[in-house]
Protein backbone atom coordinates (compact mmCIF):
# COMPACT_ATOMS: atom_id res chain seq x y z
CA UNK A 1 0.00 0.00 0.00
CA UNK A 2 1.59 3.34 -1.05
CA UNK A 3 2.05 5.69 1.86
CA UNK A 4 3.63 9.03 2.59
CA UNK A 5 5.07 10.12 5.92
CA UNK A 6 5.43 13.85 6.44
CA UNK A 7 5.71 16.42 9.21
CA UNK A 8 2.12 17.38 10.06
CA UNK A 9 2.31 21.02 8.94
CA UNK A 10 0.04 23.13 6.74
CA UNK A 11 3.00 23.60 4.35
CA UNK A 12 2.84 19.87 3.55
CA UNK A 13 -0.81 19.92 2.49
CA UNK A 14 0.18 20.38 -1.14
CA UNK A 15 2.59 17.45 -1.06
CA UNK A 16 -0.04 15.20 0.53
CA UNK A 17 -2.66 16.23 -2.05
CA UNK A 18 -0.21 15.67 -4.91
CA UNK A 19 0.65 12.22 -3.54
CA UNK A 20 -3.03 11.21 -3.40
CA UNK A 21 -3.81 12.73 -6.82
CA UNK A 22 -0.98 10.80 -8.45
CA UNK A 23 -2.47 7.49 -7.29
CA UNK A 24 -6.08 8.52 -7.95
CA UNK A 25 -5.21 9.50 -11.51
CA UNK A 26 -3.35 6.21 -12.04
CA UNK A 27 -6.58 4.43 -11.07
CA UNK A 28 -8.74 6.52 -13.45
CA UNK A 29 -10.61 8.20 -10.63
CA UNK A 30 -13.48 10.41 -11.82
CA UNK A 31 -12.85 14.15 -11.61
CA UNK A 32 -15.75 14.57 -9.21
CA UNK A 33 -14.50 11.91 -6.80
CA UNK A 34 -10.96 13.29 -6.98
CA UNK A 35 -12.20 16.80 -6.24
CA UNK A 36 -14.17 15.59 -3.23
CA UNK A 37 -11.25 13.52 -1.97
CA UNK A 38 -8.92 16.52 -2.36
CA UNK A 39 -11.30 18.63 -0.29
CA UNK A 40 -11.47 15.87 2.33
CA UNK A 41 -7.66 15.77 2.47
CA UNK A 42 -7.59 19.54 2.96
CA UNK A 43 -10.00 19.30 5.89
CA UNK A 44 -8.51 16.22 7.56
CA UNK A 45 -4.80 16.88 7.11
CA UNK A 46 -5.27 20.50 8.17
CA UNK A 47 -6.99 19.31 11.36
CA UNK A 48 -4.03 17.06 12.15
CA UNK A 49 -1.54 19.85 11.36
CA UNK A 50 -3.38 22.35 13.57
CA UNK A 51 -4.51 20.28 16.52
CA UNK A 52 -2.98 16.80 16.85
CA UNK A 53 0.29 17.82 18.46
CA UNK A 54 -0.62 21.10 20.17
CA UNK A 55 2.29 23.52 19.85
CA UNK A 56 4.68 20.72 18.89
CA UNK A 57 5.17 19.35 15.38
CA UNK A 58 4.66 15.64 14.87
CA UNK A 59 4.32 13.29 11.96
CA UNK A 60 1.41 12.05 9.92
CA UNK A 61 1.16 9.12 7.53
CA UNK A 62 -1.20 9.10 4.58
CA UNK A 63 -1.87 5.77 2.88
CA UNK A 64 -3.94 5.06 -0.21
CA UNK A 65 -5.50 1.78 -1.20
CA UNK A 66 -7.78 0.72 -4.04
CA UNK A 67 -10.27 -2.14 -3.76
CA UNK A 68 -13.43 -3.02 -5.70
CA UNK A 69 -13.67 0.36 -7.43
CA UNK A 70 -13.21 2.36 -4.24
CA UNK A 71 -10.36 4.51 -3.03
CA UNK A 72 -9.52 4.28 0.65
CA UNK A 73 -7.33 6.91 2.20
CA UNK A 74 -6.09 6.51 5.75
CA UNK A 75 -4.62 9.26 7.92
CA UNK A 76 -2.55 8.34 10.97
CA UNK A 77 -1.03 10.54 13.61
CA UNK A 78 0.49 10.01 17.04
CA UNK A 79 -1.07 13.06 18.64
CA UNK A 80 -3.81 13.59 21.20
CA UNK A 81 -6.58 11.00 20.83
CA UNK A 82 -9.39 12.78 19.00
CA UNK A 83 -12.40 11.51 17.10
CA UNK A 84 -13.67 14.31 14.83
CA UNK A 85 -16.73 12.23 13.89
CA UNK A 86 -18.14 12.74 17.39
CA UNK A 87 -18.65 16.46 16.78
CA UNK A 88 -22.29 17.42 16.32
CA UNK A 89 -23.12 18.48 12.75
CA UNK A 90 -23.28 22.26 12.28
CA UNK A 91 -26.63 23.94 11.68
CA UNK A 92 -26.36 24.85 7.98
CA UNK A 93 -29.64 26.78 8.02
CA UNK A 94 -28.50 29.62 10.30
CA UNK A 95 -28.24 33.16 8.87
CA UNK A 96 -24.82 34.67 8.13
CA UNK A 97 -24.56 36.55 11.44
CA UNK A 98 -24.88 33.34 13.46
CA UNK A 99 -22.84 31.07 11.21
CA UNK A 100 -19.83 29.25 12.61
CA UNK A 101 -17.34 27.74 10.19
CA UNK A 102 -15.95 25.38 12.84
CA UNK A 103 -17.18 21.85 12.20
CA UNK A 104 -18.12 22.61 8.60
CA UNK A 105 -15.04 20.85 7.21
CA UNK A 106 -15.68 17.46 8.79
CA UNK A 107 -19.36 17.82 7.92
CA UNK A 108 -18.42 18.27 4.24
CA UNK A 109 -16.24 15.17 4.45
CA UNK A 110 -19.08 13.09 5.94
CA UNK A 111 -21.47 14.26 3.21
CA UNK A 112 -19.16 13.69 0.24
CA UNK A 113 -17.53 10.36 1.16
CA UNK A 114 -19.19 6.94 0.99
CA UNK A 115 -17.79 6.06 4.41
CA UNK A 116 -15.69 7.73 7.11
CA UNK A 117 -14.40 5.82 10.11
CA UNK A 118 -12.21 6.54 13.10
CA UNK A 119 -10.36 4.31 15.51
CA UNK A 120 -7.62 4.76 18.07
CA UNK A 121 -5.09 1.96 18.03
CA UNK A 122 -1.49 1.49 19.13
CA UNK A 123 -1.29 5.12 20.23
CA UNK A 124 -2.47 6.38 16.84
CA UNK A 125 -5.47 8.28 15.58
CA UNK A 126 -6.55 6.38 12.48
CA UNK A 127 -9.10 8.03 10.23
CA UNK A 128 -10.17 6.39 6.98
CA UNK A 129 -12.25 7.81 4.16
CA UNK A 130 -13.72 5.68 1.42
CA UNK A 131 -15.02 6.97 -1.89
CA UNK A 132 -16.17 5.31 -5.12
CA UNK A 133 -13.67 6.13 -7.87
Amino acid sequence: MPELKVAATIENLEAVTAFADEHLEAHDCSLKAQTQIDIAIDELFTNIARYAYGAETGEAVIAVEFTDGFAEITFRDWGTPYNPLENPDPDVTLPAEERQIGGLGIFMVKKSMDAVSYRYEDGQNVLTIRRKL
Binding site: L13, Q36, I39, D42, E43, T46, A96, I101, F107, S112
Partner: protein, 101 residues
Protein backbone atom coordinates in the same frame (compact mmCIF):
# COMPACT_ATOMS: atom_id res chain seq x y z
CA UNK B 1 -1.65 24.07 -7.90
CA UNK B 2 -2.24 27.26 -6.06
CA UNK B 3 -4.75 30.04 -6.56
CA UNK B 4 -4.45 32.87 -9.08
CA UNK B 5 -6.32 36.00 -8.02
CA UNK B 6 -7.16 38.62 -10.65
CA UNK B 7 -8.82 41.91 -9.75
CA UNK B 8 -10.51 44.31 -12.12
CA UNK B 9 -11.53 47.65 -10.65
CA UNK B 10 -13.97 50.03 -12.32
CA UNK B 11 -14.95 52.97 -10.11
CA UNK B 12 -16.63 51.55 -7.03
CA UNK B 13 -17.10 48.13 -8.67
CA UNK B 14 -14.63 45.30 -8.30
CA UNK B 15 -14.55 41.93 -10.05
CA UNK B 16 -12.35 39.28 -8.49
CA UNK B 17 -11.64 36.19 -10.59
CA UNK B 18 -10.31 33.08 -8.91
CA UNK B 19 -8.40 30.41 -10.81
CA UNK B 20 -7.32 27.21 -9.06
CA UNK B 21 -8.10 25.98 -5.56
CA UNK B 22 -9.53 27.99 -2.71
CA UNK B 23 -8.23 25.88 0.17
CA UNK B 24 -6.39 26.06 3.47
CA UNK B 25 -3.20 27.22 1.76
CA UNK B 26 -4.68 29.87 -0.51
CA UNK B 27 -7.64 31.23 1.49
CA UNK B 28 -5.50 33.44 3.77
CA UNK B 29 -3.82 34.90 0.66
CA UNK B 30 -7.19 35.85 -0.84
CA UNK B 31 -8.33 37.41 2.42
CA UNK B 32 -5.10 39.42 2.75
CA UNK B 33 -5.23 40.70 -0.85
CA UNK B 34 -8.92 41.48 -0.82
CA UNK B 35 -9.27 43.32 2.48
CA UNK B 36 -7.30 46.51 1.70
CA UNK B 37 -8.97 46.81 -1.73
CA UNK B 38 -12.47 46.49 -0.23
CA UNK B 39 -11.60 49.12 2.37
CA UNK B 40 -10.84 51.47 -0.50
CA UNK B 41 -14.50 52.19 -1.24
CA UNK B 42 -15.76 49.12 -3.13
CA UNK B 43 -19.57 49.13 -3.29
CA UNK B 44 -20.22 46.38 -5.83
CA UNK B 45 -18.20 43.22 -5.52
CA UNK B 46 -18.47 40.33 -7.98
CA UNK B 47 -16.54 37.14 -7.35
CA UNK B 48 -16.12 35.11 -10.53
CA UNK B 49 -15.54 31.41 -9.86
CA UNK B 50 -15.47 30.25 -13.48
CA UNK B 51 -11.93 28.88 -13.19
CA UNK B 52 -12.19 27.75 -9.58
CA UNK B 53 -11.72 23.99 -9.23
CA UNK B 54 -12.79 23.60 -5.65
CA UNK B 55 -13.43 25.26 -2.33
CA UNK B 56 -12.78 23.84 1.15
CA UNK B 57 -14.12 25.12 4.48
CA UNK B 58 -11.18 27.55 4.73
CA UNK B 59 -12.41 29.10 1.48
CA UNK B 60 -16.00 29.23 2.73
CA UNK B 61 -14.76 31.10 5.77
CA UNK B 62 -13.26 33.84 3.57
CA UNK B 63 -16.37 34.07 1.38
CA UNK B 64 -18.52 34.49 4.50
CA UNK B 65 -16.25 37.11 6.09
CA UNK B 66 -16.16 38.99 2.76
CA UNK B 67 -19.95 38.91 2.59
CA UNK B 68 -20.09 40.41 6.08
CA UNK B 69 -17.76 43.25 5.03
CA UNK B 70 -19.86 43.92 1.92
CA UNK B 71 -23.10 43.84 3.94
CA UNK B 72 -21.86 47.03 5.59
CA UNK B 73 -20.80 48.85 2.44
CA UNK B 74 -22.60 47.49 -0.62
CA UNK B 75 -23.42 44.32 -2.52
CA UNK B 76 -21.65 41.09 -3.34
CA UNK B 77 -22.48 38.48 -5.95
CA UNK B 78 -20.84 35.16 -6.69
CA UNK B 79 -20.84 34.03 -10.32
CA UNK B 80 -20.13 31.06 -12.57
CA UNK B 81 -19.46 28.44 -9.89
CA UNK B 82 -18.84 25.02 -11.41
CA UNK B 83 -20.73 21.89 -10.36
CA UNK B 84 -18.25 20.82 -7.67
CA UNK B 85 -18.23 24.25 -6.07
CA UNK B 86 -22.03 24.54 -6.27
CA UNK B 87 -22.37 21.19 -4.54
CA UNK B 88 -20.21 22.44 -1.66
CA UNK B 89 -22.40 25.56 -1.44
CA UNK B 90 -25.55 23.40 -1.33
CA UNK B 91 -24.30 20.90 1.26
CA UNK B 92 -23.12 23.67 3.58
CA UNK B 93 -26.17 25.90 3.17
CA UNK B 94 -24.05 28.60 1.52
CA UNK B 95 -26.62 28.86 -1.27
CA UNK B 96 -28.71 30.89 1.16
CA UNK B 97 -25.75 32.88 2.55
CA UNK B 98 -24.38 34.07 -0.78
CA UNK B 99 -26.04 35.87 -3.66
CA UNK B 100 -25.26 33.32 -6.37
CA UNK B 101 -25.84 34.14 -10.03
Amino acid sequence: MALIISMNRDGDSLTVSLDGRLDTTSAPKLEAELRPVLEDGVKNLAIDLKELDYVSSAGLRVLLSTRKIMDRQGDMVVRNANEAVMEVFKVTGFTSLLNIE
